[in-house]
Symmetry: C2
């Protein structure tokens, strides 16, 4: 029986406590956590082996087991904690400073959000990544991982808390819900008195559950039905390489390509080139491409354009023009990452204006929608909702601001 | 019977349409709306008189009737629309531009949020203010006003839509829910397929209802239990004037003062000075101030420190030191506006660091937490939650951003 209210209270108290630590102390805590994870490595890997054995016994898929496995990866995860220590600290930055005509001195200062609730599934590395990013920005965090990695997560959080205690950091700032009964997810989502932001990391069902049940603001995202529109002016060899990369470089992630929209003027020659260049990929074709249907290519069914494939599957649809491409993306996309391949800069600008996605591209692979790839140094989530942050979220997106207003006994007339 | 799904669809279509209008066209539409409101003034005032008569017949309080009344105020409301036309347009601004080492050109561009849902109570001026701010930032809006001003709101929105049509603006961008049955509020809060942000403008119960029932991000706020801490080094005459202003200049609003916290070293002399300077105010005193209780001052009861007075009532509490003041604000405040009155700059900085409110003050009245007073030129709401925007929200806070990524057929290695 877990007392979620008590977890919330402790997190809020820890968040207040964290506001008193400067950048140097926070970095020192991150390094202590890295050291502690290294010291506890035998326990962590043993507990992870327990999770792996239980997964194998339960017939968990190879892909899922691979995501669960820490063996051979723990040192990389620890190295990432040390990297976060090296990133610049956004907390305390001041901006939009001004003196008003009445002499009031006004500015905004970047401050931590407070308490984050992070709900995730089978990757235990998330436990460590999220902890490092939260602490770097002086946020407390409540973690709820999946049942298939509970042993690994407990071992990781025990190590993390041991490291924090060693340098006088409040261990309550990182709490794991040590029971994966789903009722506690429901209770977490109602703790708006203590928790300021919920970050779900998982599939559509998890995001939808959070949206429906949370009284705390939720960062929804991570679902990407991504499109590339091949304009009639596209540089054909370059376009083929971009499509190849966007689809095949890592098909299981949200920024991988799902549908190629091809301008009708070039479809007849371009579509067979796609099919040839992406051999090994399974294609879903619109009706006008029936002539290309064969073993590796079939006609698209109802719902196919609305599916995030996360696999070596690619939809190909012929469109009349840019407007129809934009319309298709508006209807079937998830406002994640969409691009145009073109040599016509007017068309590029029109696409950038009209497609309302978190990331819009000209002549580049959608695979760049990623905190590291875009130079943020880290990533906690990719937001596809409109408020607070859009696209890759890193350290700055884990902060908010306060207004600081200084006067000389100013009163409002 | 209102088809809320159809309203949502129309709003989303209008939002897409609005993205095609430049600043000049939007300003032109705002001026056309101002003209139309002026042309329709007789109808608007007649419909408002109907609402007023119904209110009087129902025994509505004078204060509420005053909020409802447009007579003598309509021209001022119209002038405010013209002022919004003159404000700078944040849409299209680009920022955080950079070239990555791989040659990718990355920037963020400010874009409209999309569709706003605004739920408000008895002030029909909100109908016009919100419309102007939404259209200026290319957002569509769904308005749901109170039942006591439905006639006024219908007349206002009819005028607004007439003005929009005159200049070829999509009238669907401003829709009023023309039935005040509460079921439609519940339905609006579930339209996350079409609506991107909910702004409630009203009391605690409305904010709580939205928080509990919305699947759309809600900007909660507008509830201010505001504090001023009088440090032992405060400039006494100046501090008295700031307290007087913060409490009495407009007691019915959220940034008005609710509680003064007085350092124990100066309480004995300072508290009687407050009581004298703020004659006409009713005081709630902590137990240590029992000696000052008389007709105008009584001992505070359970819950008084957690009450937003919105009236000429002021709590006074003696605290041991700055830490106890911060602790009281943390426990009883609403993270809206809180200040310190001090001549000790170290204490000022400690207060600014430790008090986690949307606006923190040194030697100024809390009444400045307001879009106009802080130089934003307008205000749509005051946020006391942490995400997206904190404190006064104006035009920029009605926008989000997209990432624009341009390459030369870049692929991810």
């Amino acid at each position: 029986m877990i007392d979620m209210e008590a977890i919330g209270k402790r997190a809020k108290r820890a968040a207040r406590h964290l506001r008193g630590f400067d950048t140097e102390s926070k970095n020192c805590a991150l390094l202590a956590i890295a050291d502690a994870l290294h010291e506890h490595r035998d326990t962590i890997l043993a507990e992870n082996a327990t999770d792996m054995a239980a997964g194998q016994a339960a017939g968990t898929s190879k892909a899922m087991l691979d995501r669960l496995n820490l063996n051979g990866r723990l040192e990389g995860i620890i190295a990432d904690v040390r990297k976060v220590a090296e990133l610049p600290d956004p907390v305390g930055e001041e901006f939009e400073e001004k003196n008003l005509p009445n002499g009031l001195h006004v500015r905004k200062r970047r401050v931590p959000i407070g308490v984050l609730g992070v709900i995730y599934e089978s990757r235990p590395n998330v436990t460590v990544d999220v902890t490092a990013l939260a602490l770097k920005t002086s946020n407390a965090v409540i973690l709820r991982g999946g049942s298939d990695n509970l042993h690994s997560n407990i071992a990781l959080v025990d190590a993390i808390q041991a490291g924090m205690k060693k340098v006088g950091f409040p261990a309550e700032a990182v709490q794991l819900i040590r029971d994966t009964d789903r009722r506690y997810v429901g209770e977490l989502l109602k703790l708006h008195k203590y928790v300021d932001m919920i970050i779900p990391r998982g599939g559509n069902a998890l995001h939808e559950f959070c949206r429906q049940n949370s009284t705390i603001p939720v960062i929804t995202g991570g679902i990407g039905i991504c499109h590339l529109f091949v304009d009639d002016s596209a540089d054909v060899p370059g376009a083929l390489e971009v499509i190849y990369n966007a689809k095949t470089q890592r098909p299981s992630v949200c920024n991988a390509l799902d549908t190629v929209l091809v301008h009708e003027k070039i479809a007849e020659t371009f579509v067979p080139q796609i099919i040839q260049r992406l051999s090994g990929v399974h294609f879903k074709l619109d009706e006008s491409l029936a002539q290309f249907a064969n073993g590796d290519a079939e006609l698209a069914q109802e719902g196919d354009w609305d599916t995030e494939w996360l696999d070596l599957i690619l939809g190909i649809k012929v469109v009349k023009n840019l407007d129809e491409a934009v319309q298709h993306i508006e209807t079937h996309g998830t406002a994640h990452s969409d691009g145009i391949l073109t040599q016509n800069m007017q068309n590029a600008e029109k696409f950038l204006n009209e497609v309302d996605s978190a990331a819009v591209y000209v002549n580049a692979s959608t695979r760049f929608t990623d905190g590291s790839a875009l130079g943020l140094g880290a990533e906690i989530a990719i937001s596809t909702q409109k408020l607070h942050a859009r696209g890759p979220m890193a350290l700055t997106e884990l902060t908010t601001y306060k207004w600081i207003i200084e006067g000389d006994n100013h009163v409002r007339p």
